[in-house]
Structures are given as C-alpha cells and as structure tokens.
Symmetry: C2
Subunit: 374 residues, 2 copies
C-alpha cells in the first residue's frame, strides 16, 4: 500500500514574493500557523474569533455587525457577497475593467441575475457618468458592483462619487477589496460600501485561504428579506453568521483553526503599525520602485492618478522576453513577480509590493537582480 518512492520530503525554496500574491508573511504569522490545534468550538477559540471580528472591523473602518471571515479564499468571498444578495430574476450592474469584474459577472449570472455590464478598457477605471448611464437603463438594480483594486491591471477605482449615485438609486454598493485591504485607504462606512470582501494573502501578508467580509445594515435587510434560499449551503450567511456572532455559537462547518490563528496575528501586526502608517509605507515604497523601474525603461500600464501603489503593472523595455526574464528572476534569484492575466498575458509584469513585501529592500533586491540579468 506504500508508494514506491515514498516519502516525499518537501523543502520549498525561500522565495521573495513580489507577485500579485501571496506576499511574504511575517515570521510571527508563520509561527501562529504552527500553534497546536484547538477545537473550533473551544471557548478560547470563540473568544479569539471575537477579537478577529473586532480587528477586521477596525481594518475595514466599519461598525458593521455582520463582519467576519469566510473559510475559503477571496474568490469565495466574492461568491459569498453575490450569492447572498442576489436572487433569480434580480437585476444588477457590474463594472468590468479586468479579470475580477468579469468574474463577478460570471458569478452573478450563475445566481440567475440579469447583469448590466459596464465595460471599461482594462487598465482604466469606471467613471461616474458610466454609472449614471447604466442607472438610466436599469434604474432599480439590486446592487452595483465594482473592483476597488483590479489585481489584473493595477487600477485603483475611486468609489465615493459612485457610491452616492448607487445610494440615490436605492441600490447596494458591492466592492472587491482583495488587493486594497490594508495597503491603500479603504473606508467602508465613510464610503457607504454595503458588501465588501477581501483576501488574506495580499497587503495583510497572511497565508491565502480566508476571506474577511462585511455587510452593512442595508445589505443585512436584503439578506433577511430573501424569498429563496441562498443557493450555496457553504456560503449561506443566514447560517454562517450564527457561528461568528450571537450568544450561542452554532456549529455550521469546521472552522479553519490554524488559518484563523494566522489571521489574528496578521491583524495584530497591521493595527500595531496603524492603518495610515501602513498606507503611507506602501506609497513610499511604490515611489522608489517606480523611479527605479522607469530608469530602466519599464512603462506603467495605468495612468498615474489611478495607479495602485502596491500592484504595479508594467510593460517591459522593448526587446526583452518577459517569460525568460521572469523565469531567471525566479530560478537564479528566488524572486517571484507576476505575469499578465487575460488580455495582458505575455505583455506585462505585475510587481507586488504588499504587506511584508513592501520594503525598500525588496525593491533593491529586484532592481539589483534586473541589472545583472538585463
């Protein structure tokens, strides 16, 4: 019954993670993953979950009571938001300027909703006038969804003006904050975001596998007034919320204990640094990266005013083979940068400076290696 060539020892190389995620994790977070397990209904674990919830609220800058963590990666957080708010026959508006807007359309359609797409060239952002026009065609959408930080392009979507339009239409604003959370300003209550999801492996610098989310009171009312069951049992917030809040914590599924240990430690680190300081650090390191890359002939895909500091999409200097150079970086220097997705596959790099990977040292390692290779 044993495999012929057992055992398989696995000793991963020590990488420098500068792609679109995961980013480097702090040793404190890695150590938290290795804590001995405790039960997912242990009173000590439940108490720790309350702290996680309080810290996620703090990091989202929200008072929303329905704030907690989906036991699966960011894409499951996206599905959680849409599947709980949409019912068959609902109309919604979804803005698409990259891979993740497109993914929201796909999920919303699987929920049986009619989707009004607002398409924008990849690398650009959705303008308020496009939303006005979409609301003319569909004046009462159940929700309007946008990606705050499009990981496939590096574009940062302004949300405040669009939020006003969405609420004037008595609709819900749904936001993908997978790559912006804890890296750039994000203010859930102030900006009137009704449902938001993120991931752990970007600017939070925890391992991938969980998705913090938050629902406003308006979103909770929509959830409470559903006519049909949520089509996903696993992501059904009407049940999951009883594991994350309330006096009697009801078993729903087995919580991913170790990943929540790590999330707890990563949130501690974020709040010890302070959100503004963390946002500023990402911006400062971005300026350094930008200067050094532009010196070497890289050109940014996204216009300066909409550029994410933490996810840098750049065209390579002419004549360079992106696949070969990326592979040399990985194999000779252990540095990971990301390639392009979708329309930009083979054309751009996505250089992440997120969380623990947002340091001047990371930038210097990368440009030092590039100078030797180019």
């Amino acid at each position: 019954m044993k495999l012929a060539n057992m055992p398989y020892p696995f000793n991963p190389p020590t990488r420098v993670l500068m792609g679109p995620g995961p980013s480097d994790a702090h040793p404190r977070v890695l150590n938290a993953m290795a804590r001995p397990l405790i039960g997912h209904l242990d009173p000590e674990f439940i108490r720790m979950m309350d702290e996680v919830k309080a810290m996620v609220q703090q990091a989202f800058i929200t008072q929303n009571n329905l704030t907690f963590v989906v036991s699966a990666p960011g894409s499951a957080g996206m599905e959680t938001c849409l599947v709980n708010l949409l019912e068959p026959g609902d109309e919604c508006i979804i803005c698409v300027n990259g891979v993740f807007g497109g993914r929201m359309v796909d999920i919303a359609e699987r929920c049986g909703a009619t989707v009004h797409r607002v398409d924008t060239e990849w690398g650009r952002v959705t303008e308020p006038d496009q939303i006005r026009k979409a609301l003319d065609a569909c004046p009462k959408p159940k929700l309007v969804a946008l990606v705050h930080a499009e990981t496939s392009t590096g574009a940062r979507q302004p949300l405040e003006e669009i939020s006003k339009l969405v609420h004037e239409a008595d609709s819900l604003l749904v936001v993908d904050a997978v790559t912006s959370f804890c890296g750039v300003p994000l203010k859930v209550d102030e900006w009137g975001i009704d449902a938001i999801y993120t991931g752990t492996q970007k600017c939070l610098s925890a391992p991938p596998g969980l998705s913090p989310i938050s629902f406003s009171e308006a979103a909770v009312r929509v959830l409470d007034n559903r006519k049909t069951k949520v089509q996903s049992w696993f992501l059904d917030l009407t049940m999951v919320k009883n594991y994350w809040s309330g006096a009697k914590r009801a078993y729903h599924h087995t919580g991913p204990v170790s990943s929540i240990f790590a999330l707890h430690e990563a949130l501690n680190i974020v709040l010890e640094e302070g959100l503004e300081a963390r946002w500023a650090r990402h911006q400062v390191v971005h300026q350094h990266l930008r200067t050094e890359l532009e010196k070497r002939g890289f050109r940014f895909l996204v216009e300066e005013s909409y550029r994410l500091p933490n996810l840098n999409s750049v065209f390579l200097p002419d004549g360079l083979d992106e696949v070969q150079l990326r592979s040399q970086l990985l194999n000779q220097y252990n540095i990971e940068v990301g390639g392009g997705l979708g329309a930009f596959a083979g054309k751009i790099w996505r250089v992440g400076i997120m969380g623990e990977s947002a340091t001047r040292n990371h930038v210097n390692m990368l440009v030092g290696a590039l100078d030797e290779l180019m």
Copy 2:
C-alpha cells in the same frame, strides 16, 4: 486608528483533542504550516501538488484522475460533489441517518434537484432493502448519496452491496468519507464509489480547511455532459480541475499554500505508517477505550457491528450532567470531547480517537481524568 486595548496576544491552551475533530496534529504537520510561503503557481508548488494528488489517490485507493483538493473544509467538499453532478430537475436518492445526510439533502435541494429521502433512525445504518425500495420509487436517479461515517452518531455504513444496486440502476454512488478517511477501511475503486469527499482534520490529523475529493470516470462523464453551468463558480470542477492537472496549470483561485504544505506532510505520515496499520491502530485503541468506558457505565449508541472505531458515541452513566462534566474535562484537564448534535444534543458524548489522537495514552488520560471527576 489603533484599538484601545491592542495588541491581542493569543496563547492558546494546549488541548488534548478527543472530540469529533479537529484531532491532534503531528508536530511535523504543524511545522509544515509554518514554512515560508511560496507562490501558488510556483513550479515547485505545482510539483508538490502533483505529489499531494498521488498521495490522495493512494489514501483513497483509487486510480481516478480527477482526484484533488477543494480549497475549503469538508462541507464545501460535500457541496462540490453535489453541485457538480446535479442540475435543476434531476432526481436523486439521499440516505439520512444523522446530521450529515440531512445536510446533503439541503444542498441537493438548493441545486434544484428532487430528493427522495431514505430515512433511518439515527445511530443505525441504511439497509440494502431500503435502497431497493427507493429505486422502485425512483428507478433512474442521477445519484445515490450516503454517509460512510456519520460523525453525528458514530455509525459506519456498509457500502459494497448498496454500490451494486446503485450501479445496476445506472446511477452514481456519492459518499461522505469525512470521518472514515485514513481511519477505517475505505476502498474507492473496489467499492465502486463515483464521487467522494473528505476532510483533513479527522483521521488524517491535519488542520481543518481542505477537502480531498475524487470523481470516477462515470462521474466525470456526467460533469462533461452538463447542460447548465455549475451554480457555484468557486466549486466548479470544470474550471478548478485545470489548476490541479494538465500540462498548463491555469489560475482559478489562489490556492491555500500553507494548508497544502500541511496536507502534504500529513499524507506522508499516513503512507509511512501504511493504511492497514493505521486502520488496525484505530481498531486497537477503540477496543481499549470501549473496555474502559463500559467499565465506568457508559453505553454505546451504535450497535457493535456498525460501530466506527474512531468516533465513539456514548450515553453517560445515569445521574451525570454531561455539560458540566465535559466542561470540567476541558477546563481542568484540557481534554476536549464532543457533545451530541441534533437529536442527541445533551444526551451523548462523541469521543474521537482519530489520527494522532488514536493512542492508548489518549484513552488513559481521558479515563484517568474521568475517574478523578466522577
């Protein structure tokens, strides 16, 4: 922006895990969780995923090519199997003799399927004659689903005779093996199981958060011939499978890197021990537990011939307050045992001896503590 009482250090107590899961994890597995992260598309990670797949096949005793790991806990594995095989309007037969059969019914109904329930008293198992009768009423079900090891009761479901009936009806056999995997005999190919899911936190002794699954060729044909899209994007195997196999490994969602490190290590440990030796160990420790518990007046819920060795559901001796005693075990001895679920809440204990928790020392700790408390 800092929380008033930050930071929140978390130093969990060192528990002895003898509930329905998670079980104690081996230090090698905990250490694997703490390895520095690498990218989820890193060639080294992809190579390691191939080893995980080979070891999951080995542990399921299957040649199924569509064998891999869902990036979420066992309940998501359950939903993955049902949501990929069922389409609106399909008929299916689901056997219910505890919480998890009931959960399958709920999920199948959310898929738009018509469910023919085969109900059996909790603690007992489904008899082949019940399946014959169900097939008379519904001769061409898309699938017949059963729970191999009902975690809510500790009953072990015989599958071979039922498998023949299911295949004579040209239907698919779907099996929940969350609590049996790596703890009791389970032979996917020999028993003709078409779709199976399990969890990592039971007899495998890895942290909770992942769900290994496997689909037979017949199940893959059903998947390939779907008329509608799978209603869950996150769990859609027509896409996820391209991340886990094939020459070009396509990005679907960000894989939970650290949890897969741990799974890899836990599977190594299982196969180093050998499946038969591991099954035998669970049986031997069960005999010891049984003797000691019966001496003290505990009575087993499940008839001996259908009793799982690893999940022991017992009525307490008369006059004992189960909540108080369970809480004393946890608070004074750091020993976790599980309470009853559903109909058995407040009436039974569920004592798990699974994976690393299946040792004579665990049993002796438990009964020693009970002697002092009772």
